[in-house]
Symmetry: C3
Subunit: 205 residues, 3 copies
């Protein structure tokens, strides 16, 4: 389990840093930066917990996340102009986070005996909705609805994990394959600039 925990920590920190950068970009103040970092990091898991009734939500029971996010955010503020050079590492951490959070979401659904499609939906919620809440708080249309194949990577990872689970594949192998799929899709998408189709309505509608 230690690889999983390490990846979880990396993902949480990466999400916090991406939130902190978005908040600084919007010229929010110190409190705003911490809140946006926090919400980006734990928003998806919190929404998942609330929807299935797993309360008090996870970060209230396990305060390690609060300290981890606080530290990551402080570092993001201090090194805000250096983070430019780290963009590729950040992208990697963020994608690892997406994979890990997707797995955690699917597993949560399995634990309360929800149907496979709902488990995948919970995985996507856990992986993507922190970013959605971040964008709403920053008064923007959530980026994952517009620009990038991000949620799709999470959905693909979730489906893969469900299939591996059905065939009783060993957990650690499932983790690595699932996260690998998410990373591979994200890398392909960014490299080849793929995006989902948009459907336009005729003007006089």
């Amino acid at each position: 389990m230690s690889i999983f925990n390490l990846l979880d920590i990396l993902g949480t920190a990466a999400f916090a840093i991406s939130g902190a950068l978005a908040a600084m970009n919007r010229r929010l103040d110190l409190f705003g930066i911490f809140i946006i970092a926090f919400v980006t990091s734990i928003g998806g898991g919190t929404l998942r917990d609330v929807l299935i009734g797993n309360t008090p939500v996870t970060w209230m029971e396990n305060t390690i996340y609060l300290y981890l996010i606080g530290t990551a955010t402080a570092l993001a503020i201090i090194f805000r102009n250096k983070l430019n050079y780290l963009k590729k590492s950040l992208f990697l951490f963020d994608t690892i986070g997406l994979g890990i959070f997707t797995i955690i979401g699917v597993e949560t659904g399995l634990r309360v005996n929800l149907s496979p499609i709902v488990c995948v939906a919970l995985g996507t919620t856990t992986g993507c909705f922190g970013g959605v809440i971040r964008d709403i708080l920053c008064n923007e249309i959530p980026v994952i609805f517009r620009k990038e194949i991000y949620a799709t990577a999470s959905i693909a990872g979730g489906i893969a994990y469900m299939i591996l689970y059905t065939f009783s594949i060993e957990e650690n192998i499932s983790y690595i394959i699932t996260t690998g799929i998410v990373i591979a899709i994200r890398l392909l998408v960014v490299t080849y600039k793929v995006s989902l189709p948009i459907f336009t309505l005729k003007q006089k509608q």
Copy 2:
């Protein structure tokens, strides 16, 4: 109960289609269209379930809604430019949906023994807040706060249903009367272009 279920299906589909059209209008991508359609359709009921602690929320327990919304959204994308001709049918379905969802919300409140005013609030939440969440995700001030007597029709329907319930009127009759009231108010409002008052503040405020 079959009439009720039929109306529920019509309402759910109509809400999904209205969400899908809003998302295409905002030029969201395929994932964005599905999520907005989904949220418009089940957002109100989900908020209601979360507020009263009915978790896992309804659409997780009963996956038929996921498939129904998925199908309705796919059809909305395919026939997006034909839907123009169906605007009146869509208005009708949406209004039926509003009536039905209001009734479901009030009934949920009665089942957990909440007071009448809270039951009506739950009816309005179920009927209207899918659209509110849709508008927030699309980065707009929710339309029901600005332009139309929409929530008011839901409130009137909720109060009517509460009164009929108090007098132990037979359920199917209550359903028809309540939905009829909601439809009648909506039709009157749209025909005569009625709107709720706005109160302006003096400029130097």
Copy 3:
């Protein structure tokens, strides 16, 4: 406890009035005004209840808040142009509300045995997130992330209350000290126009 209840009523009403004014400022209609007033007043407590699983949420169990908020909103609409002269009283009520709601949030956390840092977070949530939801519904970046030391006063109050609680100080004294600290910080901040730092990113980021 009567002083506490009186302050709670003042705070609830003040939050409702601030919500109603924001809604009128945005030219929302009558329904929009009531909803925004309502959400500003009970949004923070509702979010807190949902996060810890205290459902049905407080205002559903205790309908006095609905009537109180309804009355305060009606008065705000009637006297909307007179409220200008009351700006200082409103500021005072709002700050009292912030203090009281912070205390209620911290106490709720203590009651379900959450750790001190989570209790303070719940206090801040209860005190500040009604305003955050108000701003999101009005399509603005929440003001507490941008302009004012508002949340910080709530955090300071929450920490103070936790310390007083740890030393088993008598409740009424704790209430007064905590609310006093929140009011003092808010007064100092407004008088000297203090604000939290903003961290800018280099443009080419």
